[in-house]
Amino acid sequence: MNAQAPAPVPADLAVAPALPDVLKPRKPLTGFTGFLRKNPSIAIGGALLGVMFFIAVFAPLLWTVDPTSISPARRTRVPSELYWFGTDMLGRDIYSRVIYGARVSLLVGFSVAILASIAGLTIGLFSGFVRVADGIIMRVIDGMMSIPPILLAIALMALTRGSVQNVIIAITIAEIPRVARLVRGVVLSLREQPYVDAAVAAGTRTPMIIFRHILPNTMAPMSVQATYICASAMIVEAILSFIGAGIPPATPSWGNIMAEGRALWQVRPHIILFPAIFLSLTVLAVNLLGDGLRDALDPRMAKNL
């Protein structure tokens, strides 16, 4: 083609109209915004969770009053300009209680996720590498898994008094078996990878094999599992508080607020409604994040790790 001097178009030549550009060139999605565009569930879940974190951290600044101050004269008010979410049967401001309740839920959710991951990772790695211990550990884990986690947490809470710390410990113990199973399975499959054999042949000691070749490759499934545990722990905490086996009633937690509103739910449904909305949104956010992570960390989809 001669680009410098276009030949003059003959007068009798029909010229086709320019076709619309159907296949517009697309810029590849790169960088942080590109990552969020490609993984909308991570973006939505992360944003929602970020809002919840913001609420929890800056609770005193968000037009709240003391969530524990009671004023019986103003009890069971419906939502109004003064009491955004109404008041409960002791006249406490539900908006303030719900906002402060985010602290408990997020603390429990993330503490359990982290503690259960660390404990499960340790047990799973040990079980996957020490074949002698494997049978014994796995039978104990099987036994623990045969009890529903909520029931196990209730039983553990029955042994002690209610406090945030004890709730975290109880839920962690109930969640450990699932992590340990997952990690053991991943370790058993990674152990058979040729690159592990090659590392053994290259003279790498077993602890280094674990830290260099096994552990980094368990992180993808682990982080996904951790988000599900986080969501599940928040729900279990609410359930424990709801049935009175969890956080002491004075501390505002979403489960506690719902438990106190239970008796009045037919006449004053808003007492249960608002903490339930917050709990649902937080759990949804964590689950969205988990689903997004699972897809993003899948090696078949991810070239950009």
């Binding site: 990878q193 040729p194 690159y195 054999d197 090659a198 590392a199 053994v200 042949a201 290259a202 003279g203 790498t204 000691r205 260099r212 070749h213 980094p216 490759n217 090696p299 070239k303």
Partner: protein, 343 residues
């Protein structure tokens, strides 16, 4: 042949127990490798060939001591390594390295090429300091024909053939005397396969490496090997130089294998020996000669007595009772039509 072989394997056995029942007792054994012996000299290639499931890879892994062996000896440079503790064995591991079949799972996806190559260097104290290690890694890249800046990349950025070169570079990083190539080119396509085979050949000449080349591909084996050992069901049935094995096979199984190799000449008409049935289970190998269920020349003695490896020529052994017959009656020597399979 030089006086001292680099690697000597004597009567190596690897049996896997099958546990079953309520108390997990041993109910049976898989006789994966059942008494094989061979040696490899410096700078020599020995190919271990056979069908899948015959125990070739188990031999390679046993030499690498990736698991304890059941019986026998592995002698590396005059020193027995099969009974050594993990700590005493570790420095000796430097001398034997490995290249695996699957270029995708043989590199840790979460380590950069430099770190993959650094692992054997630091373990064996061949290089210290970040710069020295990177420099050595780059030299290894030169050796295996990859660009130097490849050391800073991740395994998933490379193709299968390039990954296999990285695998070879990792094996070379330890400065070994022998490399076990466990089906090292089987997963690659033909043109890449040829490149890798030539690379291995060049490296062998340059560095005086010994290779244990485990393969089922006789065409590749013929191209690059010095000696061949043919395995069937955990045993070596025939071993000899390349010329002896390819020109004058002395075991019916070797003959059958060779007859299956395609010849790049359409005019050559060749007798295909088709083996009937499958390889018997290594859990319950046939009595007598292990090949008796599929051998076209089988006779009564084969089902009772196990044939020992008999010397056919200098450095050529085969395990077949036919060689006790007079030469005129031996179908392996007369090159006649294979007799019809008895029952």
């Amino acid at each position: 042949m030089s006086a001292e072989p680099i690697l000597q394997v004597n009567d190596l056995k690897k049996h896997y127990p099958i546990r079953g029942g309520f108390f997990s007792g041993v109910t049976a054994n898989v006789y994966a490798v059942d008494g094989i012996s061979f040696h490899i000299d410096k700078g020599e290639t020995l190919s271990l060939v056979g069908e899948s499931g015959c125990g070739k890879s188990t031999v390679g892994k046993a030499i690498l001591r990736l698991f304890p062996i059941t019986a026998g000896q592995v002698v590396l440079g005059g020193q027995r390594i099969d009974q050594l503790s993990a700590g005493k064995l570790r420095p000796l591991r430097q001398r034997v390295q490995v290249v695996f079949q699957d270029p995708y799972s043989s590199l840790n996806p979460r380590m950069r090429v430099r770190d993959i190559l650094a692992e054997p260097m630091t373990n064996f104290g061949l290089a210290t300091g970040k710069d020295a290690i990177t420099e050595r890694a780059m030299k290894l890249m030169d050796k295996v024909g990859l660009p130097r800046d490849a050391v800073h990349r991740w395994p998933h950025e490379f193709s299968g053939g390039q990954r296999q070169r990285i695998g070879i570079a990792r094996a070379l990083a330890a400065e070994p005397e022998i490399i076990i190539c466990d089906e090292a080119v089987s997963a690659l396509d033909v043109s890449v396969k040829a490149q890798i085979v030539n690379l291995l050949g060049d490296l062998q000449k340059e560095l005086g490496l010994a290779l244990l080349f485990i393969s089922h591909d006789l065409a590749i084996v013929e191209h690059m090997t010095h000696r061949v050992a043919v395995m069937y069901l955990g045993k070596i049935v025939e071993m000899g130089t390349k010329q002896q094995i390819f020109a004058a096979p002395r075991h019916p199984y070797t003959k059958a294998l060779l007859s299956a190799v395609p010849v790049p000449d359409p005019k050559v008409k060749r007798e295909r020996i088709l083996l009937k049935g499958d390889v018997p289970s290594p859990i319950n190998p046939p009595k007598g000669c292990r090949f008796n269920t599929r051998c076209p020349y089988v006779f009564d003695r084969c089902r009772i007595e196990e044939p020992p490896l008999r010397a056919m020529a200098e450095g050529h052994v085969a395990a077949c009772h036919l060689h006790d017959l007079p030469a005129a009656d031996n179908p392996l020597l007369t090159q006649g039509e294979p007799a019809p399979v008895h029952a």
